[in-house]
Structures are given as structure tokens and as C-alpha cells.
Symmetry: C2
Subunit: 420 residues, 2 copies
Amino acid sequence: MRQSQLFTKTRRNAPADEVAKNAELLIRAGFVHKEMAGVYSYLPLGLRTLNKIVEVIREEMNAVGGQELIMTALQDKELWSRTDRWDDEKVDNWFKTEFKSGGQTGLAITHEEPLTRIMSEYVSSYRDLPIFAYQFQNKFRNELRAKSGIMRGKEFLMKDMYSFAQDDAQHQELYAKARTAYVKTFERLGLGAHTYVTFASGGIFSPFSEEFQTISDSGEDTIYVDEEKKLAVNKEVLSDENLATLGLSRERLVEKKAIEVGNIFHLGTRFSEPLGLSYTDEEGKRRPVLMGCYGIGPSRIMGTIVEVFADEKGIVWPEAVAPFRLHLVALGKKGDDVTRYADELYDELSAHGASVLYDDRDLRAGEKFADSDLIGIPWRVIVGKDAAGSDLFEVVERASGETAKKTREEVLALATGRAA
Amino acid sequence: MRQSQLFTKTRRNAPADEVAKNAELLIRAGFVHKEMAGVYSYLPLGLRTLNKIVEVIREEMNAVGGQELIMTALQDKELWSRTDRWDDEKVDNWFKTEFKSGGQTGLAITHEEPLTRIMSEYVSSYRDLPIFAYQFQNKFRNELRAKSGIMRGKEFLMKDMYSFAQDDAQHQELYAKARTAYVKTFERLGLGAHTYVTFASGGIFSPFSEEFQTISDSGEDTIYVDEEKKLAVNKEVLSDENLATLGLSRERLVEKKAIEVGNIFHLGTRFSEPLGLSYTDEEGKRRPVLMGCYGIGPSRIMGTIVEVFADEKGIVWPEAVAPFRLHLVALGKKGDDVTRYADELYDELSAHGASVLYDDRDLRAGEKFADSDLIGIPWRVIVGKDAAGSDLFEVVERASGETAKKTREEVLALATGRAA
């Protein structure tokens, strides 16, 4: 895409009330727009990045047999009353409103209830199980404070997958599959080295749930990391008894601040019992379905990536999620040889399906480099006066700042992600 | 995809309170689930179809230079007060709710206000214009009655594009481009022959707006069609004076029921003036930006396609939007020769990236055919006892019911959409 056509520009300042580094940088670089506290729109660069994150997650959910659907924001009060999660005394972050046709409704805080009801219409026999179903859908949470930028919004995108199993053995198999898919997802998103499976409080159906926690000083959680085992324990369950159960020793644990980027839960029959989701087993007996739940917030991932990798110059995107792979920066003026040469290179890269943002604007080199650093595309290719003659291009890696001369074929390989 | 793995099944009946044909068929075929009146979730087959529709629209909006973003459901009361569209006396279908942090918010009925505010942060000079920006985002409308299935929901997906121009000449150019893109979009979606550009009431900035109306007895609108000119007039503006202005003659008009599947508006300075979206022109004068607005509802399109093409056996999808291109129906039982043969064909088609739903279930042929008719995939390939020997397959076209024998290469071509 030609940067002269992009409607966003970089800004010197984020809104004065913005305290989170992720939102501040994303606003300044033109990725998001703050509508209100905790409510952000995604501008073209931001939506491209969010969609890259979504696509990685989708591929991994599909790989374990997940079936994608999409449920609604508006929720049926009657359904949530049956699981005792409608009452504001029980769940304190609902947005509630009224139908003009009569009756109350609320904006989905999560989707266990509606999906359990949907499944109750399709599951009748053990032959219908197991099932993995998931969606990417907005959640709404009426947070009192919203000070973590896009990491904790009042309206935010969530990937929530649910598993449905006959018995504990089948449930554990699904849970293990989802857990492995999560580990792989965070690796592909570039967060693998910073992210720990972390034991946290469970519920009535299991002693622990597992969180995926990414180390960052801006995190709201405190965890204790065993670096060797690549495991951690959330402060909320740190006790000698629990450590013994988990086979961890207190001496090896290091306290860290971390961001919860995913979590996986055993739900047991918490929802299937009150909502009547049951099946007939091989002996003809009715049994409740066992459920699991697996959440990742793509918008929170986006904010976390900014927090973890940004430097003093701006954002640093890992290749897998960058809005473009390559930032082509022409140091010419409209109509001159340098610009003509850069135009041709851009056309050639585009013809090969490359992912390129082309800075074709009439601006000084210093402004272009500062914008490029702020936006954070992984590879910058500079076309100046010397490039036109030699057909060797100066390439800067955003993350390391390292510079190298590359051939046209090598630039094409960087821009497409294919081998040179 | 193997149908034995799909978690939905066809159902004999839709909920008793469902009166719209589109929702009744989509529920019975397992495409959507009714959460409440006017609120529908999209199950795997439905989401695939909806995404096909979205992708066609996205391609056409990108082709005219549209930049995609995504705004929020939660809306800023203060912003809508400035355009005088917050008051329930003025706009009667808001869902409103309260922030726990204080103050009212509402769920987006449309997005002119937030996008105009976003643009006011990026547009300052005539050099920044023109701009096309669009999104696919849910709208919420607190409808008193919801009896048109997914064609008029309380929560529904909308593609809304907006144009931003310097002056009327530039605006008219953008408007004409968007209009052409709309005509092409409806053609690609399979609705071209049934859809008419229809003059409807304008506003302060133009005598008429233009609607895209698809002929259907289930439509809520009455239009008057000039078949020869491929134009129509909405009943709301049918007058001798208007007909004279439009160069249409009353004798040639035929009254029809129709569904509004799209609309395009001249907004003038209706939003840019109160929200301060202006630019500096070449002479250094500040001028308000001229806007246009272009809407298509993908979920309404999906419902309309069902209404227009369904027959007594079920849904009939045009190829461009079908959840799968080909329905492979094996008439064998697990482990027998016919099933082995069908398995191999399915694997071969899948290896070529074909779009196939494979009915590998242990059911009677009659049940499989009835399900296949209800689901409405364009091409059905039947693998029975004779196919295994001859390598010629019986192919049924869903729309016409016509049957033909096809070779393996021809089946592959149908399943991939590539030439044989």
C-alpha cells in the first residue's frame, strides 16, 4: 500500500488521559483510535495487525478440529438466570439494557451459556461427541477502571473455544490438545520465549486452571516462575501445599509481573447441568456433557506485543503479526529518478503479492525514518540515490537496528516471506 | 469437511415463533440459531456463507480504494449529542446503558459520528482528500417488531462505507464509483438480475438517495419498476413531479414488493459541520468536508438470497456464496467399497483445495438427499455402487435439479471453480 493513500498519519502525542504504553504508541502510530476510556477503534494498520493475530489463532484452532461459529452480543436474561450469572450481586460487570419490545437484555461478558444451549439442540448421543467449537466475538465488560490501554477494554475481541466431552478421559484428551495448540499459538505470535504456562485458581471441577502469562512490567498479575521447568504459579495460589502438589520448589521461583494472554479451564458440568446439555451413553444412560473453555484475546495479544517489544523509538512487530512485512522508504521527490526507481520496485514487489507499505510521501528522510521506527514494520528498505545505480538496497531490521545491503531477490524474499 | 464431524444437524422444524421463510430454512438447515426475537447466532455453515458474502463485498470496496477499519459498538453520548441524534425523541431505536465508571452510553445504530470524529484528526488539507473508508461491524437497533428473520435483526452485520471529498465534483466522482461497485457487488452475489437501483427520499443535500432493491414477495418495501431502464422508484417518492425529474413514465412502471439490500446517500455537510471535519483548500480557506455513505448488510443479503432462490425442498445458494461448492454424497456404509471409493475421491478433492462437504454419515440415501436439498450446496456428486466401477459420477445441480454424468476431472473443476 502507498503510504500517501493511507488516511492515518503518525501523531506526536496520544490523548492526555492515556496512561498505557501500548495505547499511547498505537495511537501515535495510527493503529487505534480512543473512543472513550477502555473503548478503542482499529484503524487500517491496526485492523491489519489484529487480523494477522486472528488468522494465526484460527489456524491453530482449526488444526485441532475446532468448528468456527459466531454468537451474539445481546444475551437472553432467562438463560443466564438458570446458571445464576445474571444477578449483579453475582456478576458485577454486566452492561444491561432494555428491549423496546419488553424485557431486559445484557451484553455478552462471555458465551458459555448461549453455546451450551446451542449444543443442547444438536448433541443427543455419545456419537455426537467430542466437539470443539470456537468464535471470535466481542465481549463487553463494564470495568470501573480502564487504564491498561487495549489490554483491558470495556469492549474487546476474544477468541473463546469450548470443548464438549463424554467423560473425563475424553475431556482430558481435548484439554491436552487445546493446551498444546495454545503453546504453539503463542510461539507463532512471537511471544513464546516470554510466555509461561501458569497455575492459577481452579474451581469446583479441578484444583487449578492454567493461564498463559507473558512477562512484562506492565502486567497486572504477579507470578512465580520456574525458569528451568518453563512453568509458573500465580500469586493467588502460591502456598506450600500447592507447590508440593505441583512438584515445584519455592527456592527456584522468581517473582515477575506478567500479562495474562490466555487461559484454559475445566468447566465440568457447571453449565451442562443447569442448561440440560446431556447425551445418551453406549448403555443408554443419560449423562451430562463435560466442558472445557479456552480463551485468548487477540486485542490483548496486540497490546502485549507492543508492551514487550517496543523500544524508545516505537513499536517493534514480530513478522507473524506485522501489518506489512516490509517498509519501502523512498528518499526522492515526486517525479525524480529515485522515486521512479522506487515506484518500479514497489510495483514489482506488489506483482509478487508482497506485503509492502511504500512511503512515497514528499517528506524529509528524517521524518520518514522516525515514522517508520514508530510504526514498527520488521524490515525497512531504503531507496536513495545510490540504490538506483547499484541494484543493492540498504535494509534495516527494525528489531535489532542492523543494516545490510541486499539484492533485489533478497528484498523480494523478505517482502513475501518466501526463500530467496 | 466431513459431515459426520459437523456439529449441526438438520432439523424438522424451526421454533414455533419463527415466521420468516429465510430464518425458518436457515434454522432447519443448521445455518443459524435463534437466540431471541431478531437475534441470531451463525453456526459453522452460516458463518462460512456470511464470510463468503463479506469477502465479495470487501474485494469490491478495496477495488475502489476503500480502507478497512473497525469501530466500536459502545458509543460516546457527547458525540451524538452534537449531531442531535442522541435524544430518544429524535432517534427511537437506541439501546442505551450506563458505564459503571459514570455516564450513559449507547450501542451503535450506525457510525457516521465516530468516523467523522476520527477523520477530523487526520484530515487537514485538500491533499488528504479524497478518502473512502469502510468497516464490517455489528449494528444494534432496538426494533419493536422483528418478524423478517435475519433480514431485520436487533443485532446485525453491516458493511458501511463513507466517502470524504473536497467539493461536489469530487464527491460526485466518489459517489459514482461506489454506485458502480454496488452494482457489481450484487451481480457477483447472484442477485444482479433481481436487483434494481431505486430512487428513494433524499435529504437536505440531494433530492433522492438510491436504494438497491431486490424483488421478493417477502419484501417490506413497495417499488415501481421500469424494466427497460432497469430502474425503480420507491413508493415513498412516487409523484408526477418526481417521475418527470427522473425521466420515468408512470405507464411503464410495475408495482413490486422488494427487499432493500443496499443504499447510498449524499450526506453533504450534515456530519462534518457539527463535528468540525474541515480542510484547508488550495487558496488557504477552511471548508467543510463533503461526505457520502454506502451501506450493505451481509446478513440481510444472506436472508434475501434464501428468500429469492429457495424452493419447496430447501435453500438454493448461488456458487459465489455457498458454504461449500460441492456436496459429495456417498451411498455406502462404513467400511464398504463404495465408502472407500468416496473417501479416496474426497481426499483427492481436498488435496486440490476443493470446497467440499462430504456426507460420510451412515444414513439412508433418501435422508441424505433430503438434507442435501435443504442445505442447498450448488452441486451434488453421488457416489453409489456404479460409480466405483465406471469412474463417471452422477452430478445434480441444486438450482435446476438437472442430472448429468461427469468425469473425475469435471468433478474437480466444479469443486474448485477452476476450468476442467
